[in-house]
């Protein structure tokens, strides 16, 4: 069974204090790993897709990396507006032969950045 585990569940940082969020996964046949940001009362917002071990993606203060067993979301010098829940998801082959690929989400890391 595909499993996605995110840690920590919650993280509180001072503004400017860099840190990393972890997403570990156990799947058969990874077809992509996604990072999303979710603000309270809103839907998840797409950040990155990583496809293979060693790949890295960056956007402003965020950098996502991928190994064969886990992904990290590094936050450099965070600001209060980076406060949100960050979700990790994996895409694997789904049932049937129609090309559908199943997406499984982790439970997220709630990040709070204090001014």
């Amino acid at each position: 069974e595909d499993q996605v585990t995110q840690s920590p569940e919650a993280l509180r940082l001072q503004e400017g204090e860099s840190s990393s969020l972890n997403c570990s996964y156990t799947v058969s046949g990874l077809r992509g790993l996604f990072w999303y940001r979710q603000d309270p009362g809103k839907g998840p917002e797409f950040l990155f897709t990583l496809y293979s071990a060693g790949e890295e993606k960056e956007k402003e203060r965020l950098k996502a990396t991928l190994t064969k067993k886990e992904s990290f979301l590094h936050i450099t010098a965070p600001k209060p507006e980076d406060s949100a829940t960050y979700l990790c998801a994996v895409r694997v082959h789904g049932p049937g032969s129609g090309g559908y690929q199943k997406v499984t989400f982790g439970t997220g890391t709630k990040l709070q950045v204090i001014p």
């Binding site: 077809r31 992509g32 797409f46 496809y51 979700l87 998801a89 895409r91 690929q101 199943k102 997406v103």
Partner: protein, 118 residues
Amino acid sequence: NAGVTQTPKFRVLKTGQSMTLLCAQDMNHEYMYWYRQDPGMGLRLIHYSVGEGTTAKGEVPDGYNVSRLKKQNFLLGLESAAPSQTSVYFCASSSTSSGGPARGRELFFGEGSRLTVL
């Protein structure tokens, strides 16, 4: 460009009542999904559709039905609501673009529909 739109945004039901959540997307995506999000459980897939006229069960389909009569719309129905269905429901859509194992297939989400069943 609206993206994915869900209606209604909030609804309160009594046990046993029925209702339908509507999802509309204007990105011409083939795939559409309904998820529910509960504290500590993450997003769980209820039903999905790989194209107009087709639907399939996800991880937690019991108590829900869906229909995809038009490519841009995906309806989620509760025939007899139960308190266990109190949740936030998210609709999402994605394309089927080629160019790699998952390229261009990220999910785009709506803003959510908060349902309370008393």
